[in-house]
């Protein structure tokens, strides 16, 4: 995989195996996390970044065990706070490639605030959100992404609260990069990871992940029924279905709707623009899978260029030195009214 040229990969002859740590993987047999781990490990060499420059930071949850399995630097932190910790690391060490791994409970429940603030700041982080629509590690309570009516351990009569759509929330939070992929679609996931890695600032990647113990089959509508996958491609009309017979239009109400291409004609279809300045169309697309469990867009919804937080801060530091000279504490301490005794 290391033949890819991004970031000087030519020099480093790493393989997926180099990114496997010596720790035994402790997920349930059949868990979607395995597939994601394999994809990430095999994608890593492409980055062309030496392992020691890569850091994985996670919170708490099944998904958050991820860093233990990566032969990079890593921190398995506390519930919901990985983006905050990673922000400090990324901001003080712009030379590192910092990745956050989180779950739907970790990122959207307890950690919601840190997530949206990282997004608006555009901190140089790649956030992988393993969305299984359930709390795995604590054994099956509904999460903020579970659909209404979810019967879980804490909701015997069904949940009554409307879930978040992680990507809609992210776009409302001024995200510069949002994408979605599926645990088992290795090719697609790798492609999305590649784009995320190249993004300047915060990239949020939602990954539909099957928890076969507490929420099996939650994503079958798109995981099993591939005809429901709407692969978003920049500059292309949005089509899907077994034979591309379906498409997506942005309708009068500003919302994305699924249509028959035969009926409306290809020209009427929405042409995806991942780099659009305004997030409105990405927002419309992010809402398409709502409840319907039919056609569901995956891919990069939005990817725009804005300076990252650490770049701007580093710039301010340089400007300060240029303006005031490198700091001299002796001089500074004496720069106010002083007197001699």
């Amino acid at each position: 995989m290391s033949e890819n040229g991004n970031g000087g990969g030519g020099l480093l002859q790493l393989t997926a195996k180099d990114f496997k740590s010596d720790q035994e993987v402790r997920w349930c047999p059949g868990c979607g996390d395995y597939a994601i781990l394999a994809s990430v490990q095999s994608f890593m060499p492409e980055l062309g970044i030496p392992r020691e420059k890569i850091v994985f930071v996670s919170g708490i949850g099944c998904s958050s065990r991820f860093p233990y399995y990566m032969q990079t630097y890593g921190m398995h932190s506390i519930h919901g706070r990985a983006p905050a910790i990673a922000t400090g690391l990324s901001t003080s060490r712009p030379d590192l490639s910092v990745w956050v791994v989180t779950g739907d409970g970790d990122a959207m429940s307890i950690g919601g605030n840190h997530l949206i603030h990282a997004l608006r700041r555009n901190v140089n982080l790649k956030i992988l959100l393993f969305n299984n629509e359930i709390y795995g590690l604590t054994k099956g309570q509904y999460s903020p992404t579970s659909p209404v009516g979810k019967v879980g351990k804490s909701t015997p009569m069904g949940s009554i609260d409307r879930p978040f759509l992680p990507l809609s929330l992210a776009l409302g939070a001024e995200a510069t990069f949002v994408a979605r992929s599926i645990d088992t679609d290795r090719k697609h996931l790798t492609e999305v990871l590649r784009t995320a890695a190249q993004h300047r600032g915060t990239a949020l990647v939602e990954i539909y992940q099957n928890c076969n113990i507490y929420n099996d089959n939650a994503f079958d509508f798109v995981r099993d029924d591939k005809a429901n996958r709407i692969y978003l491609e920049h500059g292309k009309p949005v089509r899907f279905g077994a034979d591309g017979e379906k498409g997506v239009v942005i309708a009068e109400d500003g919302a994305a709707h699924v249509v028959d291409v035969a009926t409306v004609g290809e020209a009427a279809l929405h042409v995806h623009d991942a780099h659009a300045d305004e997030p409105n169309h990405a927002f419309a697309l992010s809402r398409l899978s709502y409840g319907a469990h039919g056609g569901t867009p995956i891919g990069v919804f939005r990817d725009i260029d804005r300076p990252s937080y650490d770049e701007l801060l580093t710039e301010q530091l340089a400007t300060a030195v240029a303006r005031k000279g490198a700091g001299d504490l002796d001089a500074l301490l004496g720069s106010v009214d002083t007197w001699d005794v």
Binding site: S21, Q23, P50, R51, E52, K53, I54, V55, F56, V57, I60, P67, Y68, M70, Q71, T72, Y73, G74, M75, H76, S77, I78, R81, A84, I85, A86, T87, G88, L89, S90, T91, S92, R93, D95, L96, N113, H114, H117, L313, Q316, L317, T319, A320, V321, R323, K324, G325, A326, G327, L329, D330, L332, L333, G334, V336, D337, T338, W339, D340, V341
Partner: protein, 615 residues
């Protein structure tokens, strides 16, 4: 009119007025002039939590007390010698502190019906004889200020009136023979963009000075000789600035870039604000979305090899504790400043208290030992910050440094240290495998300090993972082994306890035959010291010791305590250090505890000490 000049050895002045009257600025300027003049000084700003409560109201009163002397002093003084009251509310809230016979200067212009009503005065105190016991100087400060400013172009009447604090300052400068040039320069600088405002303020300032010289109301002015402090170059400093300089010094001396993650909160905010000006020192400040993110970002930076620091006060410290627990498991260096304020909950945000000791010691789940040190004076905050950083970096542990609202805002003269005299803080990152088989174990400990290696991202070959789950000593792998957990629990405790080996023994300021010890910590240093002076002057033999290290204690503390028949522990809480020493050393120490949100007065402590000695 000829005026006499009297010599005094010390004076305590309190400025009091509306939040909008600029009393803090007035006090600051007076203090600066006094410091530069060479007196020893100690100050106590006292302002409401509201930004600006309704003009003229009692909650809106803002005060500033300054104590200056020709000798070494320790506190801002118990009671003022002079009270400057800019309005009825200021008079009402402060007059009870003014001892009979002392000087009261009032701005009579403010004693109009509306303001009297707001202050709850049924009759005008200037007229009803209720101030007969004081030496009252009734001065038309507002009128004369406006008069003085007349003719300066571009000043609005409102702006003219707002210069009245400068009039008061000028008057006080005359009364105590303070230099004036510093203030004139200061005003010119502050209002450099609006020269007419500068001119107006200077005019008012000079008018106040001149009024003193000429008015019949003042027949005497005073002289207070410079104090004989340790020779050297001095400046004024408050506790929060000293912490900032100390942190920057620690960054320089350790060679690590400083990263501060913080969320604003009274009385800690100024540390974030001041450090934000140190960008040319490579300092990165990050205003986080909350305290959890603030400490989290600092911990993330520490993982990356920075000197990670966070700062807050009570409510924010509580929020940080889960993350600090993680730092304890990770065994990474981190400095946490707690600028204590009155609690519980929001409490009284601008007032000092010593009630966070238990919280910082114990406010986490599990056995999570953490070193705790405390600063004792504004200037000492500088050294405390360096020491906190040294411990954190040497032992790879989060460290709490306790200050409080009194130290944060209070000022004192400060012998400016030279960077060259401050010892280096040696930090070595691990760059090579630490095992014979060529592997790297992140929890293989230093034999002396028990510190684990600090191998930062970017170091080839030492890639490793750490986390909040219990881990095997040595390898750092997740471990649920019962004996390992017991071992790790004890190792973490021993590591912190072992810090005692590297800190100075507790020094006792002793006198012949003392059977009573007064043991303090934190900002009570000044009041306790002043009280000790008093009781000794009264002929009592009492010893004093002050703890800068609260966890671990200096290794001789038990031995010291057992030397005495009686031990008094004054604290601005209900007895937190007291509980620790009683439990650890089984000595029947007693507490002097007041939780009033104001620093102790030397007199009350002197009374308490005397009572205990005589008991």
């Amino acid at each position: 009119m000829t005026k006499t000049v009297e010599q005094l050895d010390r004076v305590i002045i309190r400025f009091a007025g509306d939040s909008g009257d600029g009393m803090q600025l007035t006090g600051d300027r007076f203090t600066s002039e006094t410091a530069v003049f060479g007196n020893d000084i100690s100050t106590l700003p006292d302002f409401p939590a509201e930004i600006r409560a309704p003009a003229g109201s009692l909650p809106g009163v803002s005060g500033f007390q300054v104590h200056f002397a020709d000798h070494d002093i320790l506190t801002p003084g118990d009671y003022p010698d002079v009270l400057v009251a800019m309005n009825p509310a200021a008079l009402k809230t402060n007059i009870n502190d003014l001892p009979k016979g002392r000087t009261l200067i009032v701005n009579t212009d403010a004693f109009v019906q509306r303001n009297l009503d707001k202050a709850g005065y049924a009759t005008n105190p200037l007229e009803d004889g209720s101030l007969a016991d004081f030496q009252v100087h009734a001065v038309q400060i507002t009128t004369m200020t406006i008069e003085s400013v007349k003719g300066i172009e571009g000043i609005t009447p409102r702006e003219a009136e707002r210069a009245k604090n400068m009039f008061a300052l000028g008057l006080m400068c005359w009364l105590y023979g303070r230099p004036v040039q510093g203030t004139i320069d200061f005003i010119n600088d502050k209002f450099s963009k609006r020269p007419e405002i500068a001119a107006g303020n200077i005019a008012a300032f000079k008018a106040g000075y001149a009024f003193g010289e000429t008015s019949e109301s003042f027949s005497v002015s005073y002289e207070i000789k410079p104090a004989k402090l340790r020779p050297g170059k001095y400046r004024q400093i408050n506790g929060n600035s000293a912490l900032v300089y100390g942190l920057v010094a620690a960054s320089i001396k350790s060679g690590l870039p400083l990263f501060l993650g913080a969320y604003p909160i009274t009385p800690a905010s100024s540390i974030l604000e001041e450090l934000a000006n140190f960008k040319n020192f490579g300092v990165r400040t990050f205003q986080a979305e909350d305290e959890i993110a603030a400490v989290g970002s600092a911990l993330g930076a520490a993982f990356g090899g920075a000197l990670g620091v966070t700062v807050s006060a009570g409510p924010g410290i509580v929020l940080k504790q889960e993350m600090i627990g993680l730092a304890i498991q990770l065994e990474l260096p981190l400095v946490i400043l707690d600028i204590q304020r009155a609690g519980p909950s929001t409490g009284m945000p601008t007032k000092p208290e010593q009630t966070d000791l238990f919280n910082v010691m114990y406010g986490r789940n599990g056995e999570s030992p953490i070193p705790v040190i405390a600063a004792s004076t504004p200037g000492q905050c500088f050294y405390a910050a360096i020491e906190a950083a040294r411990i954190a970096l040497t032992y790879r542990t989060p460290v709490f440094l306790l200050s409080d609202a009194y130290l944060a805002n209070g000022a004192e003269p400060w012998l400016i240290p030279s960077m060259a005299d401050i010892p280096e803080i040696p930090v070595e990152f691990t760059t090579k495998p630490n095992r014979d088989d060529g592997s790297f174990w992140p929890y293989l400990r230093d034999e002396v300090t028990l510190a684990r290696p600090w191998a930062i991202p970017g170091t080839p070959g030492l890639e490793h993972r750490i986390g909040g789950i219990e881990k095997a000593n040595g390898t750092g792998n997740i471990s649920y082994d019962p004996d390992n957990h017991d071992l790790m629990t004890r190792l973490r405790a021993q590591k912190v306890a072992g810090i005692a080996g590297g800190i100075p023994e507790l020094e006792v300021d002793s006198c012949d035959g003392a059977r009573t010890l007064v043991l303090g910590w934190g900002s009570t240093y000044g009041p306790i010291g002043a009280a000790i002076k008093r009781v000794r002057a009264d002929g009592l033999a009492v010893d004093q010791a002050h703890l800068h290290y609260l966890n671990p204690f200096p290794r001789n503390l038990g031995e010291v305590l057992r030397r005495y028949d009686k031990v008094l522990v004054p604290e601005m809480n209900l007895g937190q250090l007291l509980q620790l020493v009683r439990s650890q050393f089984l000595v029947d120490a007693v507490g002097y505890n007041r939780v009033r949100g104001v620093p102790f007065k030397a007199s009350e402590l002197a009374d308490a000490i005397t009572a205990l000695v005589n008991a």
